[in-house]
Amino acid sequence: MANNKKRFMQGNEACTEGALYAGCRFYAGYPITPSTEVMEICAARLPKMGGVFIQMEDEIASICAIAGAALGGLKSMTATSGPGFSLMQEGLGFACMAEVPCVVVNVMRSGPSTGFPTGPSQSDVMQAKWGTHGDHPAIVLTPASVEEIFHETVRAFNLSELYRTPVIILYDEIIGHMREAITIPGPGEVEIVERRVPSCAPSEYKPYDVQGGEIAPLASYGEGYRFHVTGLYHAADGFPTNNTKLIEEACHRLLRKIDDNKERIWKNEEYYLEDAEIGIFAYGVSARSAKFAVRELRKKGIKAGLLRPLTIWPFPDRAVEEMAGRVKAIVVPEMNMGQIVYEVERVAHGKCEVKGIFRVDTEPIRPAQIMDCITGNGSKPPAPNSKMAEMMVERDMLDG
């Protein structure tokens, strides 16, 4: 790998590069379009670095294997797409509950079910938050370019180690398969967070004893700390409990450790937002179209601006609230039938109008579609796709 040299790279390749840069030394996965390149490149790269690559029998096994490896002390990752992501949900819940750091990449394709495997989509954004059962925290990152995939993958590993939790990287097939210029930073140029390990004697160690904080240090198996990990509700010593107070406190802490730190986890890009009268809230590939639309609208004298979250969960409440207080309307383009728009609506709470632009024909939302929605031409079917108009749903203003 030539350092600090501009390279031409695919999004999925940048993901692998980011993972290796962050110190990922274990990959377990199962092939699935459109994420397979992540796995293939890991298969080529990891053995050379002395890391572990293993192809598992399915996605369920993959997420379990990465959690097992993480408890063995390795930074670990798996990558998948819709159907595989559905299979991983129980394992994700285990990693949340047992507080096992790991990274899961979901390169979104069209669904439900097998859907259109090579067709891009943004329809797993709610599943990424709510897919596994029970109340649980979620950190989900939404990069929008090849270079950003690299950096967000590094950030995903850092956050997972910092907060002892699985982190999901969510991008669509377009970004995953797109090729762009990228500069890979040299060693040490980007901060890498290492796991906080216990400093106490093994006999004193309790894997969930947060000692007044929110996150306990995590020992690795096989290093003298003989501790217990379970998916059952557990006390600070890791052993199952049916004490209702401890259960409540454990659930609260799981959520709190992310919620109390959301200022540090949030990351947004603001584009011409300062004086904007029309705000656009967009993530992933749709944000690229939105950016283009903002420029074109500005040329026409329309004060449009973009708020682009790189952290979609925890939801950027504060940024959206601020935007809602300043603009007349927020437009939310997304490649699904309306998911994150409801979050925007919830946070805007009637302060401004919220409109969704939805598209599920596996074609990206085009800048023209966003511009038409803003300039009021939304009712006219934009050529050449007449179906597009049907998918542009204008949402009524909330009362109050």
Binding site: C64, G68, G231
Partner: protein, 289 residues
């Protein structure tokens, strides 16, 4: 009324007779276990700990991984690196852990439902890869934790809460399945033949590669009650003692005498490259290029 001192005396005498000290292996304050009176799992755990003691492997180097079910509660009681995971997925977690830390001696405690139904796919693929780990299938032919449903090893005709008129499904033979899938050490024992079981588990742990031990034990609470076994002892005698034949005995018996009986002992052993070692070779070869 006896004084407390009188109560203690005979116990203290008995203690002296116990030749094996389990306490270094059992986590303080975690017993009594959740298993029902008459359940065979406690016997299996005893055999496992005694066998582990004989291997002389350090407790720090032992990892015990389990899924969900009665058998999967084992790791919570023992003082090793322990991981209690999801239903059916113990082998997938164990695979990741073993690959990340090959020096660990990985033992998976699982049940007939956990290993052969929900975890069936992981079971055959673990056997195929031949990672150095020992899989103990606590096989009581029923789902105990959820109160007695049919499992892949419930014999045909037997009663469960989901087979109220008799189970019509054919059963899996854990050992045949493991051998066919590629496990390099396959054995069977019972909780009744506990000394034999200890030896078989010891051999399994000393084997390099995936070793599978099918442990026949009894669930008197559900299987026994539904199927008219009067006592746990009767179950052990009918199912474990009379229902099995050792490999040695089997040589002397006619095929018709072996009808309906399960074989005990080491049933299959072979020498095939172990996965972690193969992976390590691959890494060395790739890095040398």
């Amino acid at each position: 009324m006896s004084t407390p001192a009188e109560d203690v005396k005979p116990l203290a005498k008995k203690k002296k007779k116990v030749p094996f000290n389990y306490s270094p292996y059992v986590r303080g304050g975690k017993l009594p276990h959740i298993w029902c009176p008459g359940c065979g799992h406690g016997i299996v755990l005893k055999c496992l700990l005694r066998a582990l003691h004989t291997t002389e492997i350090s407790k720090d180097d032992i990892a015990m991984v389990s899924g969900i079910g009665c058998s999967s509660r084992t790791p919570g009681y023992v003082d090793f690196n322990t991981l209690h995971t999801l239903h059916g997925r113990a082998l997938a977690y164990a695979t990741g852990l073993k690959m990340a830390k090959p020096k660990l001696k990985v033992i998976v405690t699982t049940g007939d439902g956990d290993a052969l139904a929900i975890g069936g796919n992981h079971f055959i693929h673990a056997c195929r890869r031949n990672l150095d780990m020992t899989i103990l299938v606590y096989n009581n032919s029923i789902y105990g934790m959820t109160s007695g449903q049919s499992s892949p090893t419930t014999p045909q005709g037997k009663i469960s809460t989901t087979g109220r008129y008799g189970n019509i499904e054919p059963t899996f033979d854990t050992c045949s399945l493991a051998q066919a899938a590629g496990a390099t050490f396959v054995a069977r024992g019972t909780a009744y033949h506990f000394q034999e079981l200890e030896k078989v588990i010891f051999e399994a742990m000393m084997h390099k590669g995936t070793s599978v031990v099918d442990v026949i034990d009894a669930c008197p609470t559900y299987y026994g009650r539904f199927n008219k076994y009067k006592t746990p002892t009767e179950m052990m005698e009918k199912i474990e003692k009379e229902g099995t034949v050792s490999v040695k005995q089997a040589d002397k018996l006619l095929p018709e005498e072996l009808q309906g009986k399960l074989l005990r002992g080491v049933l299959y052993k072979s020498d095939r490259p172990e996965y972690c070692e193969e992976y390590n070779k691959l890494v060395i070869a790739v890095q040398a290029k």
